[in-house]
């Protein structure tokens, strides 16, 4: 049958009716069968009992029969035993082995009637025993099977008919009786049987009703159970879905809480009608509030945590937002219970009711402390970058100027020196030449400072012992600072060595001492202290970082006027000075900053207004051994006869150099560029020395140097320059093994340097 047909209510009802009818029949037959079986069991025991009763009755009533004085066992006893046994046997066996069968019931009915006849005879035909017949019929009615009653009645009738025919007196009390008299007894039996049958029919009808009710109840129960099962399944499914939804909600809430925690962002809600603030868990944690504080008025919240300086502003912003109904953003500081200060950014919006009145304000707060600090650090970095770029630009400018300026000064200074060598007498010309030379030297110092702060100068570091440097300067410094200032030195006897250019370090110390002196116009105390310092944590200041390691520190302290933060911020900038116009160039501290930085160290300043200033110089410690340098300067130019090739693009410097060296006895050739020099060297590879400028067009002096070392390694090379570039020096420090002479140089310095190189037994590699 199709499912569509099954959905038709009429079809469904018809099916249900048939099903109920079938089920009713099943239940009825089942109940009837139970009754049959039950009655069979009853008669099983009843028949057995009746048999025993019959035997007992015979033993009691007629135990023996007599012939005069002689007695024997009465035949009734044998009759009760055997005939009673025969009568009992078949019903009992069938009721025992085949209960519920139709044949069993009929055999039981027939047997029961036979037992009645036996008992009646055993009791001498007592009228009371005849009640056994009627009682048996009533008991047989337990079967609720009228056919059994008919079978039993037939037995009674047949009994009477047979006895009426053969032994009428035993039945009717007369010697002969008409056949119809048998109907008299059967009639009474039939009388009872008729009403028993009526009762049985009624009982069966009730059984039908019960079966029908039960069938309907079963169907109803099945329907209800199915409905319950479906509903239970629905509920289970709904429960599962609800649990899944709750789980999803919990997961979402957890993820939200995690997200808020990671973002350090919390949410809040302010019920304006009740003036109660609800916080999210993260908000509570950010503001250091307890969960039980939820529901506090907004005023309390602001009063408790907002930084006092920000409360008014926060209140104003929120009030403005309430007034304009516009969202707001408000950065503010909070003070946590442990005293920590954090920077928060709050955002909020207004929820309006139907009348446009604000009823709720909700939003988020985010801890932006780190972001703020990062932003400030970025700003500082940008500022430092700008400063660095500015310094670099100034350095580039200074370097460019110094290069040409050094060439000029080299020429001026050189020719002055040559002229002074020729002018032996004291004449006005010589005095003028000496003034020119002094001016030239001052100009050289100035270019040196320019190159120093721009870190374009060429450092020639050596292993130094700062105690000895300071001790060597102490007398000069005392003269420099005057008598109003008391100089105290504290030397660390275990001070380690450093690798630095001694002249530059002396320049730094002198600059700092001069600054200290200027900071103490009315006198004061100046302390110079040296010590070993180990830094176990990175330390940054300005755009420099001191790496972890061992350092040698020299601290120069005064108790002068000190500096403000503003001054400290620009202290090492070139051309920044607090001294009056014409009193300072603004290059002193910039020079110090450049030299120390170029030497791999750092200089830090600690100062408060009216509390003096301390400069601390940190230079990397070296384990190399200190070697004192002995410089002998006899005042005479060193001479020689070796052949030298001068490569210099500046014709004045080239001519001066050629003149100086020829004056010293050398065989000199010159070239204006590196290519020409290489041609000369290939043509005459017996040159002993090549002196080449570094900064030249087309090919630099370093490239020339590399070519010579590659092709003519026996020829020595000396580089001369006003400043160097990265090809020649690493961060301005001359690469190891290079022979170098800094411009401007004097004839004596040139001659001495040349002689040193030529006398060196090992070729410069």
């Amino acid at each position: 049958m199709s499912s569509a047909a099954l959905k038709d209510p009429d079809v469904t009802d018809a099916l249900s009716t048939d099903a109920v009818s079938r089920r009713m029949g099943e239940l009825f037959r089942e109940q009837q069968q139970n009754i049959f079986v039950h009655a069979d069991r009853l008669f099983l025991w009843l028949m057995v009992c009746q048999w025993f009763f019959a035997v007992g009755l015979a033993l009691w009533l007629s135990p023996r029969t007599w012939t005069g004085a002689i007695s024997t066992i009465h035949p009734h006893i044998w009759l009760a035993i055997f005939l009673g046994g025969i009568i009992t046997a078949a019903p009992v066996l069938l009721a025992w082995q085949q209960p519920g069968r139709t044949l069993t019931r009929h055999v039981v009915g027939i047997g029961q009637m036979m037992m009645s006849a036996l008992l009646i005879h055993l009791t001498g035909g007592r009228i009371e025993t005849h009640f056994h017949v009627f009682g048996s019929l009533a008991i047989l009615a337990f079967y609720r099977d009228w056919r059994v009653l008919i079978s039993a009645s037939v037995v009674v009738y047949v009994d009477h008919v047979v006895r009426g025919i053969f032994w009428p007196e035993s039945v009717y009390g007369v010697l002969s009786a008409p056949i119809w008299r048998s109907l008299e007894h059967a009639g009474w039996v039939l009388f009872e049987v008729t009403f028993l049958i009526i009762a049985i029919r009624k009982s069966l009808g009730e059984m039908e009703l019960v079966a029908e009710r039960q069938a309907k109840l079963e169907f109803l129960k099945a329907g209800i159970e199915q409905t319950v099962a479906e509903r239970t399944a629905d509920l289970t499914r709904e429960n599962l879905e609800r649990k899944q939804a709750e789980e999803q909600l919990r997961k979402s809430q957890s993820q939200l809480a995690q997200a808020q925690h990671i973002a350090r962002m919390g949410s809040w809600e302010w019920d304006l009608t009740k003036n109660k603030v609800t916080w999210s868990e993260e908000t509570q944690r950010l503001y250091g509030r307890n969960p039980e504080d939820v529901g506090s008025p907004m005023e309390v919240c602001i009063e408790e945590r907002i930084h006092p300086d920000d409360r008014l502003r926060v209140n104003q912003i929120m009030a403005e937002s309430l007034r304009t109904r516009q969202p707001f953003v408000c950065d503010h500081r909070i003070i946590l219970p442990d005293g920590c200060e954090r920077i928060m950014q709050g955002r909020g919006e207004i929820l309006l009711d139907d009348r446009g009145e604000p009823v709720k304000m909700f939003g988020i707060v985010q801890d932006i402390t780190e972001a703020k600090r990062a932003q400030e650090a970025l700003q500082r970095s940008e500022e430092q970058l700008r400063q660095s770029q500015k310094m670099e630009a100034v350095g580039q400018l200074a370097g460019g100027v110094a290069h040409d300026f050094n060439n000029l000064l080299t020429v001026i200074n050189g020719y002055c020196a040559l002229a002074l060598q020729k002018e032996q007498e004291v004449r006005p010309v010589r005095k003028n030449l000496e003034e020119i030379q002094k001016a030239s030297e001052r100009a050289s110092a100035l270019t040196g400072q320019l190159l120093a702060f721009s870190r374009k100068q060429v450092l020639q570091p050596r292993v130094l012992h700062l105690n000895e440097i300071v001790q060597g300067m102490e007398k000069m410094l005392r003269r420099l600072i005057g008598e109003d200032i008391e100089l105290s030195t504290f030397y660390d006897s275990s001070l380690k060595n450093v690798l630095a250019d001694p002249g530059q370090i002396e320049q730094v110390i002198m600059n700092l001492v001069v600054n200290a002196r200027d900071a103490m116009p009315r006198g004061g105390k100046l302390n110079i202290k040296t010590s070993n310092i180990s830094i176990d944590q990175k330390s940054s200041s300005r755009n420099r970082t001191l790496e972890i390691g061992d350092y040698v520190m020299i601290a120069i302290s005064d108790n002068g006027v000190g500096m403000t933060e503003e001054i400290k911020a620009h202290l090492f900038e070139p051309f920044f000075t607090t001294k009056g116009l014409g009193k300072g160039t603004g290059l002193g501290l910039a020079t110090c900053y450049g030299i120390i930085g170029q030497s791999g160290g750092d200089i830090r300043v600690y100062s408060e207004p009216n509390s003096g200033t301390t400069f601390k110089i940190y230079l990397p410690r070296t384990d190399a051994t200190f070697e004192p340098v002995v410089i002998s300067d006899s005042g005479r130019l060193s001479t020689g006869t070796e052949s030298i090739l001068i490569v210099e693009d500046d014709p004045s410097v080239r001519a001066l150099t050629v003149a100086i060296l020829r004056n010293c006895g050398y065989q000199v050739q010159d070239s204006s560029n590196a290519f020409e020099a290489l041609i000369l060297l290939k043509r005459n590879p017996r040159f002993d020395l090549v002196i080449t400028d570094v900064i030249m067009p087309q090919m630099s002096g370093k490239e020339l140097y590399d070519q010579i070392k590659d092709q003519l390694p026996h020829i020595k090379v000396m580089l001369i320059s006003g400043y160097t570039d990265d090809a020649l020096a690493h961060h301005g420090v001359l690469d190891e093994g290079l022979a170098f002479l800094e411009k401007p140089f004097s004839p004596a310095k040139l001659a001495r340097k040349v002689r040193e190189i030529l006398d060196a037994s090992v070729l410069v590699e």
């Binding site: 049958m1 499912s3 099954l6 959905k7 469904t12 009802d13 249900s16 009716t17 109920v20 009818s21 009713m24 029949g25 009825f28 037959r29 009837q32 007629s62 023996r64 029969t65 007599w66 012939t67 005069g68 004085a69 002689i70 024997t72 035949p75 009734h76 005939l83 025969i86 046997a89 078949a90 069938l94 044949l103 036979m114 005879h121 001498g124 035909g125 099977d145 009228w146 056919r147 006895r163 032994w167 007196e169 035993s170 009717y172 009390g173 007369v174 010697l175 029919r201 069966l204 009808g205 059984m207 039908e208 009710r213 309907k216 169907f219 109803l220 099945a222 329907g223 209800i224 409905t227």
Partner: protein, 262 residues
């Protein structure tokens, strides 16, 4: 297939049987189905009795069950037949004088009829005779004088005869109970079977002789009782002699199949 289940909300069990569907919300009316085989019309009676299945019965007649039942019926019937035959075989009756015997200890009532009964005190069958005597006397009232002689062999003590049967007889009003040692009186009257009754008129003329039970030890209406009642009432009867059912009063009892002992 998805099954559709109709849920009925009607009160279960209270409904008609018109076979009409009353629509949703009510029980579906079931057709009146006679489930009870006994409730079928008479047509099914034969079927119910198995007559409609006679061929089938024949076919299965010789199967074990039916055959066993038939044999059982035959055995039981035979048993009953033997028993009834035994019940209806009367005892021996001796030669009876038509006049009051001389020498008897029994007293002849000269004003009423005299009824003499001879009984064996241990005979179970005589209990029915005593009961019938009681019933008979109730019917004839004081129109008859009754004497009951209980047999006692001489070798037994007096207690041997004082049984419940003696007591029952003695309890009947106007009944005289006495012993008949060794059956001497019975011999005078010609009574050989317990329960033998003799009725004499006041002149000593024998009116009736025989038993007053319909069969052995079986109480109830019987021809002997009816005849005595009629005779006592002065009516004429057709039956003057009936069979006597009881134990033998003699040493030889022909009524017993087990043999008699003298």
């Amino acid at each position: 297939m998805t099954s559709t289940v109709t849920v009925w909300t009607d009160n279960v069990g209270i409904h008609g049987s018109s076979g009409v569907n009353n629509g949703p919300g009510q029980w579906p009316r079931t057709k009146k189905t006679r489930l009870c085989p006994q409730a079928k019309p008479v047509r099914s009676f034969l079927t119910g009795m198995g007559f409609a299945e006679i061929p089938a019965m024949f076919a299965t007649f010789f199967n074990g069950r039916i055959l066993s039942v038939v044999l059982w019926l035959v055995a039981a019937g035979a048993g009953f037949a033997m028993f009834l035959n035994y019940q209806n075989i009367g005892g021996e009756t001796g030669a009876t004088s038509p006049h009051w015997p001389a020498g008897t200890r029994a007293a002849l009532d000269r004003t009423h009829d005299t009824l003499i009964m001879f009984a064996h005190p241990q005979c179970p069958c005589t209990r029915a005779s005593v009961e019938e005597l009681n019933r008979l006397l109730a019917r004839v009232q004081d129109r008859v004088s009754v004497q009951v002689f209980f047999y006692r062999p001489g070798q037994f003590s007096n207690d041997w005869s004082k049984t419940d049967l003696w007591q029952s007889a003695a309890a009947i009003p106007n009944v005289t109970v006495c012993e008949d040692v060794d059956g001497a009186q019975a011999a005078l009257f010609g009574a050989e079977t317990s329960g033998s009754v003799f009725l004499y008129d006041p002149h000593g003329q024998l009116l009736f002789t025989g038993g007053i039970t319909g069969s052995r030890g079986h109480a109830g209406d019987n021809a002997g009782e009816e005849a005595i009642v009629a005779l006592c009432g002065g009516q004429s009867v057709k039956v003057f002699k009936t069979r006597v059912y009881g134990c033998s009063l003699l040493t030889k009892c022909d009524t017993l199949t087990g043999g008699t002992v003298k």
